[in-house]
Amino acid sequence: MNLHSTYNNDINLIAVSETRIDSGVAIRFKDLMRSLTETGPDHVILDLSAVTFIDSSGLGALVGALKQMPTGKRLELAGLTRDVAKVFRLTRMDTVFTIHADTTHCLSRAAG
């Protein structure tokens, strides 16, 4: 499980550089998210554009990552691929998270 965090215009942009968030990596993903969001900007955007598969364990880990965010910080998502977006819709998790179409859009808006 590889996550890459970069700070950009007061945004902690975390890119998932794996194609799958599933039961095999769910716990590791949640642990990595905790350490990457402990410090740095309060506004965290998770870039999911490389992820083509997520199961309910992976979705649960994303919810876990949201719940463990330090007070005052917020976690948003960006770049959901077709199949990942479908799982979000089915489980109505698209109503829980703020979801951006892509990261370029939110980074430039933050800068402007």
Binding site: S56, G60, T91
Partner: protein
Amino acid sequence: MGAAKAAETGSGSASGDSSGSDRGSGDPPTRATKGKLTLRFSGATDNIRAALRQARRHLASLPVPEDRLATIELVLAEALNNVAEHAYAGTRPGPVTLNARHDGDRLCIVLRDMGRPLPGLVPPIGTPPDVNRPVDDLPEGGFGWFLIRDLTDHVDYVRHGSENRLTLEFSTP
């Protein structure tokens, strides 16, 4: 040990006389295996990815639309997660057999394991996650059965002796 990858150690043998045609190489199934697949692997979480990869490679050789493949893979993932996390929970992972058969516009997948039976011997109804609650109370799991039910056309479960047999059917227009 028990966590060896299914693609490498599980017999990727397809049914019929073309054993091994689905093994790792990316070769399409031969005519003899067209429409049918059998995978055997140990029911540990670490084996699920490889099993799904093999199943998807096989299904991609059938006249099944791409978006249906994603749906089927997700349902299989949820069902196999349940086997690893519940049927074989706390025990040494036992065997899992996956059989897929495609007839015209219908795909039928049967999963067999030798783990604990489903509680009450019936597959859970599966309710969608309750998202209308404060963030701290949001569920972090427990909606695998909802996805299985929602994304299949028919689900059937039988406890046959000490074997669990879960049948998942999909229409593949």
